[in-house]
Amino acid sequence: MTTYDDATLLAYLDGELAGTEAEALEVDLARDTRLAERLQAFAGSGALLHAALAPATHGNLPPLPQPCLTERPVTSWRRFAPYAAIAASVALLIGAGLGFGTGEFLARRNFELASEQRARDAALAEATLRRALETQVSGTPVSWENPDSGASGIVKPTRTFKNQSDQFCREYERVETIGARRETVSGIACRGDDGQWRTRAVFYRD
């Protein structure tokens, strides 16, 4: 049987191994448990790395500096050009007097509204996940939708097992569509003695 060094296992894990080489490795992985364990050790520690940095992708994101976008409603400016020019200079004066422009105010307000919706999306997704883990057999998807934000998602438990502490754990998949973005996440959650499901690992598949 071929022996594999760590670099090869890692290349396989990162999808960097060429087709035939990857296939040969998969054949060996299926019959060599020691080899599979070595790969699992890398995959497992990689999952922890993911989970350790996940807080950065959750919760509210701070507002970003706003660029000057080229797509503006220029037509209305042209039609009212003479007035607009006066209005603009007045607005500039007012803006300067107040110490900040209305653009910043509007951007901040939009951000607050957006993050409120994002928080609702997250709460719905969490509640649906808990319900699915508690009540659904593996393979049955449960969906949620936030009509206000247009975001939606599907949660599906995929496998159930017991960990070394004799707790029930389940692997699950989440697909979320928020705006134009679609994110697929798989994770593992375990049911504590208090009946609460706690996520132990997440894998983002961007």
Partner: protein, 174 residues
Amino acid sequence: MNKETWTAMTALQPRLRRFAYGLTGSLDEADDLVQAAYERAISRIAQWQAGTRLDSWMYRIVQTIHINRQQANRVRGAHLTPVDPDTLAARDQARALEASITLAKVRGFIGRLPEEQRAALLLVAVEGLSYRDAAEVLDLPVGTLTSRVARARVALRDFVDGSAVQTATGGGHS
């Protein structure tokens, strides 16, 4: 900048924040770094070539600003030593989630990695970039990048194997 580019750029914020969190070890510093990166990206958008990867370009900006700041700190002799997450965890309630204490340990490990291994590891193992794309972001030959990633991952595996981290996966006594 047109609207599509900006939309694509804002969609990257969570991933850039995660990368910056891995680099700096603190969410506040990460936000500050990402903010600076967006400012620079907005002012230099003309330098981005449409059709090339926007995410690689942004990761590169984050990395560049981070390195510049590190150097500035070193010059001023104000190089910050990372806070030991174990002492932070100890201050928490006794019943603080086992998992989150463990994850703090993993973050501590990331913080102790040599700078050049850290960025390589984050881009490949967390951000999911190919070896080639990550090498481009860091301006390295692919071979150098690959061996840095490998060294960091072997160290990570040994750290996870050899420490109490295992409790996170549900092991240990109940």
